[in-house]
């Protein structure tokens, strides 16, 4: 079984110029990403009560010239579909989402998961015309910075799907 390094993911987030991480805790990324981010001065962690708030905050930050990452679970992303539709897609804003896939089996592609709540994620993003990247093992981590850069360069949303629990180191 492969590993996924939380430290390397955070390094990519920082390399992508992200100054703010907006988050509702997600069990997939809680230990490997959110816990280390809590201790860092930068990026600044902003805790929100609900994920669609985060879409709005990221939009405001984008207008202010600041890069942000919304760190959530796919359940929260699904709950925020209308905000993503209106603010990220129809207003063409660079909303970058890092989404932990709750209950996805390691080494199984999301759309091949036995879990309905996982299997539907990519088809929904396809239907919405939103770019996404699977982050399943270390080789995928290098996709993160270019994905963030592309979202801001082209002013459009992107979703980074975290397919297994990253280690804290």
């Amino acid at each position: 079984m492969s590993d996924l390094s939380g430290a390397n993911i955070i390094q990519q987030i920082k390399a992508g110029g992200v100054e703010f991480v907006i988050s509702v805790p997600d069990i997939t990324t809680a230990a490997g990403l959110l816990t280390p981010l809590e201790t860092m001065a930068s990026p600044r962690l902003v805790r929100v009560c609900k994920e669609d708030e985060g879409i709005g905050i990221c939009a405001g930050l984008a207008h202010a010239g600041k890069r942000a990452l919304l760190l959530i679970q796919q359940t929260g992303m699904l709950d925020s579909i209308n905000a993503i539709r209106g603010v990220a897609v129809e207003y063409s804003l660079p909303i970058c989402m890092m989404v932990g896939l709750l209950e996805k089996e390691p080494d199984v592609r999301p759309r091949e998961s036995k879990r309905y709540g996982v299997r539907i994620v990519e088809p929904i993003l396809d239907a919405m015309g939103i770019d996404y990247h699977e982050i399943e093992d270390e080789a995928d981590v290098a996709k993160i910075k270019p994905a963030i850069d592309a979202a801001y360069a082209q002013s459009k949303p992107v979703v980074l799907l975290i397919g297994r629990r990253p280690t804290a180191s």
Partner: protein, 189 residues
């Protein structure tokens, strides 16, 4: 209860050229008439997210005041925003709710528990240290300048009458040209 338009006219006298204002729905149409500016930010989607956009702007641009003119129905759709903003605590963030008890842009139906919801208490309970409530125009005119001089986050309840009948051209608040104008204005200043 204050006249919505007169309340905004009094507020506008205390808004600086560099302030960013985020008015919502019926407040947006009133505000755009009272204080036209490229720094009015009206394209915040729906479902109560204006205060969240405003919080992002306040965090990203601490050099300028960000003023949200929310609706009561909108705030109820995103009530957690009070907790989030109180925790993030930007000193340049001013969140006002225009309380008229109705979903004015959606047929004038009442909000849940109209007349009994206490928005000031909700804000205090969420952790806001500075909370104000205004229902008298003269009192509002006398105090709003001092309220806007306080360090944020500040929350205010504006008890207003329903807005006058409006021509609601939603392109005025969501249109691509309006969004582009805001982007250019905030970059330029």
């Amino acid at each position: 209860m204050m006249n919505h338009r007169k309340c905004f006219e009094a507020l506008a006298r205390h808004i600086a050229a560099d302030d960013i204002v985020l008015p919502v729905y019926s407040s947006a149409f009133e505000w755009l008439d009272v204080r036209p500016s490229a720094l009015n930010y009206t394209a915040h989607g729906a479902m109560g997210l204006a205060s969240s956009h405003g919080l992002g702007l306040a965090l990203g641009r601490p050099d300028r005041r960000v003023i949200v003119l929310d609706g009561d129905g909108s705030l109820l759709m995103n009530i957690g925003t009070l907790v989030t903003a109180a925790a993030a605590a930007p000193k340049n963030f001013y969140h006002f709710v225009c309380e008229n008890g109705t979903y004015e842009a959606n047929g004038g139906h009442p909000i849940p528990n109209k007349g009994k919801v206490n928005f000031a208490a909700l804000a205090r309970g969420a952790g806001y240290g500075s909370v104000h409530e205004f229902s008298d125009l003269q009192n509002f005119e006398q105090q709003i300048g001092a309220v806007l001089a306080e360090p944020g986050p500040v929350f205010g309840v504006l008890k207003v009458e329903p807005a006058r009948p409006q021509q609601r051209d939603y392109n005025r608040i969501h249109g691509a040209d309006v969004r582009q104008m805001f982007k250019e204005a905030i970059k330029a200043r």
